[in-house]
Every structure is written in C-alpha cells, then in structure tokens.
Symmetry: C2
Amino acid sequence: MNKNYYAILMAGGVGSRFWPVSTSSYPKQFHDMLGSGKTLIQKTFDRLNTFIPTENILILTNERYNDLVLEQLPMVKQDQVVLEPAMRNTSPCILYASLKVQKMNSNAVMVVAPSDHWIEDENAFQEDVKACFDKCQNESVLCTLGIRPTFPNTGFGYIEFEKESDESIKKVSQFREKPNYETAKQFLEQGNFLWNAGIFIWSAETIVNAFKEYQPSQYELFQEGFSCYNTPEESNFIQENYAKAENISIDYAILEQSQSIYTLPATFDWNDLGTWGALYDKLGKDNDKNAVVNANTLLVDAKGNMIRTPKGKLVVVDGLEDYIIVDKEEVLLIYPKSKEQDIKKVRGQVSDTFGEHYA
Amino acid sequence: MNKNYYAILMAGGVGSRFWPVSTSSYPKQFHDMLGSGKTLIQKTFDRLNTFIPTENILILTNERYNDLVLEQLPMVKQDQVVLEPAMRNTSPCILYASLKVQKMNSNAVMVVAPSDHWIEDENAFQEDVKACFDKCQNESVLCTLGIRPTFPNTGFGYIEFEKESDESIKKVSQFREKPNYETAKQFLEQGNFLWNAGIFIWSAETIVNAFKEYQPSQYELFQEGFSCYNTPEESNFIQENYAKAENISIDYAILEQSQSIYTLPATFDWNDLGTWGALYDKLGKDNDKNAVVNANTLLVDAKGNMIRTPKGKLVVVDGLEDYIIVDKEEVLLIYPKSKEQDIKKVRGQVSDTFGEHYA
C-alpha cells in the first residue's frame, strides 16, 4: 500500500432524519443500518483500508463518540481519532486534521469522506480515488468525486463542471446550492452537473495552502499549534483554541473560493442513506415491496413499508402502505414514507416535549 | 361479613383476542389492562372481598398460573387456589370447587365469576349478588346475573326470562346460543333477553344436587373424593381422577337442563373486556379519540386508535385511524380495530410460524 495515502473519515454527524434509530448519543454511522452485520463506519473504514494503510486513516468525530469509534474499529489507535471539542462545522476540523497529516508526512495525499454513505462497488471507488490521488500528487489542485444524478434531487448541492473538457477529471466551474425542482431538472438536462457527495481528495500541502490563501485567520489559529500536533501537547492546545475557530463549512470556506477545483464523475453507485426512504431503496424487498431489517414479520395487506426493529422482534401489520415502522427499545415510530423529511422535526419536538435522551 | 358467603373466581382463560399482551404464559386477567395500577384479577378479587371473607374466595385456575395468583393476590393462601391438572371446560372444575366449599361449610352460598371483566359500580354489584344469595339461601334455585344488552351483540349467549314475572329476580325460560345479527335484534326488541356474563350464584348444596341429577357420572367421579377434599390427600386424588372428567361447560351440563334457573338483570355497567375494542370503549380518550395505556405519545392525524406499550415508551404516529397499536417487548402489533376478532387467529399463525413462546 502507498504510504503517502491518507484518509479522513468524517464521523461527527447525528443523522437526525434516521431517528429514532440514530440518536445524538448513538448516531447513524455507528449502526448496522442495512442489517449486513457491519455498521456504516465499519463498512466505510474497510472500503478505504483496501488501499490506504490502517494507521493512515484518521477518524474525525465528536468527543462523545470516541468510545464508539474505538469499540467499532479496534484496529484504530487513540491518536488516529481526532476529536472536536466544539461543533464548528467541517472547515476547522478538516484544517486541523490536514495539518496533523502534513506533519506526519509532507508528501501526503488524502481523501476526506463521510462515514455513513452506501457504496457497493469498492473497486470502482478505489480506482476513482486513486485517479484523483495521482492528479493531486502532480498538481496543486483540489478534487472532489461527483455523483451522476439519477433524478432531480432537491436535497443535494450540485457541482457544475466545464462541459468542453475531455479529461476524465473535469474542471469545476462552480458549486451550486440545493436547487428547487425546476432548476434541478435543468441541471440534469444540461448534463454537466453532479451531486456533491462530500468526498474530497487533495494533498496535505495544497489544502493547507488553500486555507492560508482563503481563510487566513483560521489558518493562523491552527498553524500556531503545528509544533504540538501529534505530541502530548496537542490536546491542551486544541482544548484552548478550537472553539475560537469560525463555524463554517469546507464548501463555503475553500471550495467555493478556489479556482483550482476538479471533479471526477464517480463510476460507482452511491447512496447517501440520508433518510429512511434512501435506506429503503437500497434494501431487498419482499413480494409486496416491504423492506425489513431485523424483524420477523407477519404482514397482511402491507405494501412498500420500511420496517426495522431490534433483532428477532415479531411485527404483525395489517393494512399499512408506504410507512416507516421503526421500533427501538423505548421509541416506536409509525410514519408515512412521504413525510420522511419531517422526521428531523419530529425528533426535535420529542426532545423538547419528552427529554433529550429520546433524541 | 357473612361467613356463609363464598366465591369461586374463574382464572384459567387465555384471553387470546388480547394478544400480544395476553399470552398463554401470562394471560389477560394478570395484566393491568386499564392502566389503573391493578390487574384485572386484583380488581375482581377486591370487588368480591368487600362482602365475602378473604378466606372464602377460591381461585380456580390452571397449574401454570399458580405462581401468578399467589404473587398478585398475596392475601390468598395456597389451599384457596384450586388447580385444574387438565383443561376440561367449566363443568368439572366448578363441581370440584363446589364440593370443596360444601365440605368447608354445608350452608355455603357462592358466586362463580370471571376474573377478567370490567365492573365499575362495586356497590350495585354487591347488592345484586346479595339479593341472589338471599334467594339461594331460601330456595333450591340456580341464579345468574344477566346484563341488559345495549346493542345486538352476536358475540354473547343470551338469557331469555319469563316476561310476566314482576319479581326482580326473573325465572329463566331458556338459554340461547350466540345469535346471528337479525336474531340478536329481535332479542333486543322483545325486551326479555339478557347477555350471559358467566356470573352464577347458588348454594353449594343446590349446585351439587343439580350435578347429581343432570350429570350423575361426573357427580360420582368427584363425589368419590369427598373425604380427601381440603386434606393432604386431595392432590393425589385430583391428579389421578380429574382428567377422566367429561369436557363440558357448566352452561350445557347444568344450566340448560335445570328447570330452576333464575336471573337478576344487573343494575351495574359491565364490559367483558373481550377484545381490544371493548377495552378501548372503557378507556379515557384524547381529543382525537385515541385511547392510550402506558405510552407517551406524539400523534398527528391519528384518530380513534387503541395504543398500548410498556410503561414510558414513546410512540410517534402519523396518519393512522382506528388502529390497535400494541407493543410488548418482543412483539409489535399494528392492526385495524375493525378486524379485532381476527387477532385470535393471528396469534395462532404466529405460534405456528414463529414458535409458541410468542403466543
């Protein structure tokens, strides 16, 4: 394996639209959402670990998930888990982790990737990331893997690339925020738009230089700790300074500023597993299109439902169609699939009304 | 309290239409179905115990429920629990218990009553039973409390009494099996029909004599053990002989044969709590007519549902109407109220498909 290959796994999210299975104390990435025997972060780690050395994979997460990471990824050492002492969106934590990587290996190229997405074709994923690694080793550019849109999804940001390029890795002309339906349809018709899946590839040097150029105060804040990183002094420095960082996303801080952004249209199937409906799409179905995880079921006149329970629970349903039925010890959710986007809101209401421990 | 007053509480049923809360290992009468803080058998015992001495109340049940009875009714001694070593319907166990009572007190009058019904007005119940006790102390008659029908229920047997009587306790002309809807409507129009609630009152002497006359072989079988009853020898005798008894109901064995049956139209409200819908009727409702036991709920567009869970479980429902939603550790049931009679069948299917322990 190439010793210059690094990965930063983003594992700090809450996955609130997957409530009640995903909660702030035990979020989605730490669950076996597909009933495959592995949690999402385990699957993501394995996918990267086929071509990136174990010790070169850093897990970026919140302090409260430290134990979950170490438990689910026993091959990972504590110093590979990069903990955010405060929630400051993706920019500060990526800069911080990138500086750590740069200090380990000034020739490092790295992939930054979410820990909770579905990607089945591991070889295609590997080939795509390696193609970007090659480009980033040779040029001072920032790359992203874009997903070819299959329908006018209004829930994702889009990447517009320059049509005329006949390279496989295209120059990005601009990032576009989540569009309305009409705009999304136009994007698809134009053919040079990809979904932004949050998968980025760059060298440590290039991303650090980009911060220096576009976010100088953030760069200064974290650069000051460079001598402490990967030493026992790091923790104190971070505890003292991290919260001072501006709350800003990597997209807004860097990607929308830089002129050297490239995108590779991914050659693998991808699903963000962002909602129960997205999970439903990826699961096997019975004859009535019910997707069932963990439960034993007796279903009559029940069609198109997404059912998930603790292992071995018996579920008897008569007459429900296109419902999300999720049972999880102290919470039972029976909710129309068509309203899945509201589950995030429901989670908030539950937290306000019945207490945070439910959320 | 009158030392001649006795009661036989029938507590051997399974309550299969209340599955999954009611199971063969933990039936309905041992559950707090109403969320009142007391189980049905506890409420029934208390109701009788206001006018019948504690030690005169026998509990007739299956061997497997012995521990549940002693646990839920700690004032009851083991020798008050009359155990059926085999399922032989109501006739053999009532004869056996009646002989035991007769041996304790040859002047005993007793009420035989189910342990799992809902009766709110305890005073009216007491007055009605006492009125029958009086009659049975003075005359060799068999009495039953009949329930004034409120609608043409096809799920109950009916008691037809002689219209011309102006006594409060009426002579029964005949018992009628569960009618079809048209017949049930005629019953209600005629005005001299009552629901048979399985509440019987008689003296020990009269019921034993009735068995002697109408079921001589059953009488002989159990009379032979008379010297053993209420002694250490009883258990052996019953183990050896009980299973030989004919499987037959008290209605068929005695009540439909005897010419000396009387009925008192009950002056209290009654509900057999036979189905989830019957329970629903007796529970308080929210503004959308949802009845909730034990759960914390967040309900949107949810109307007329019967919801029951373990204590404190959070239930979020959107868009369901007239459903039974029951969660019980390893089983979740989501079933239309209109099909509540099929739950018994579902329980059977579950037992066949997934194993008896679910049923």
